[in-house]
Symmetry: C2
Subunit: 116 residues, 2 copies
């Protein structure tokens, strides 16, 4: 996988278990065992998911006796959201006659340019 922060963030978000873990952490800091509880998955598997989230900077882990409380760190989510914002105009655009027309004109121009 690529080494830039955004790539790490999106990669971390590309797994439903990890997204569910983040959703749980949105309710507040908690232990690994409690995070693991909803999943039919071994503890080591959860531990690995947490490591991925930690490497992506999406969580931090503290120490409270033998517990390792996990806490959400939202900054990478903000950065990801900002990246997506650049494309907002595309999904807000009504895909109406004008847009389709412009697209086809563009394709036609390229075609004509090649024919010269």
């Amino acid at each position: 996988m690529s080494t830039d922060p955004l790539s790490h963030t999106f990669a971390a978000l590309s797994d439903p278990t990890r997204r569910a873990i983040l959703a749980r952490l949105a309710l507040g800091e908690t232990s690994v065992t409690e995070l693991a509880q909803p999943f039919e998955m071994s503890m080591p598997a959860i531990s690995k998911h947490l490591k991925v989230l930690e490497r992506a900077g999406l969580i931090v882990r503290g120490r409270d006796a033998q517990w390792r409380p996990c806490r959400l760190k939202p900054q990478p989510l903000k950065d990801a959201a900002q990246w997506l914002e650049h494309y907002r105009r595309f999904w807000e655009q009504s895909f109406d006659r004008l847009e389709e027309y412009l697209r086809q004109m563009q394709a036609k121009e390229r075609k004509d340019a090649r024919k010269k």
Copy 2:
């Protein structure tokens, strides 16, 4: 990788080449060769990236003689942005004394509960 749409979307976005391809497509529909041009990478590599983007529903490919024009499809980006929106309050929250205080109270309560 997981099979749900959101996982596919985030996985597709977790590569800088693919994000750059989407950025180029935001300027308008274009051919594979033109998409490949900015990258020091073989055509088959680009072709594979396009396949990933297509599987994620982020692009569609048409046919214009021997060209395969690619076009951005923004719906999955919208869905990803909406997922991230759920966490907006976390990055907008000022991480001030109150928030920190609440967090520590929460940790303390769990500790006390265990001691009973």
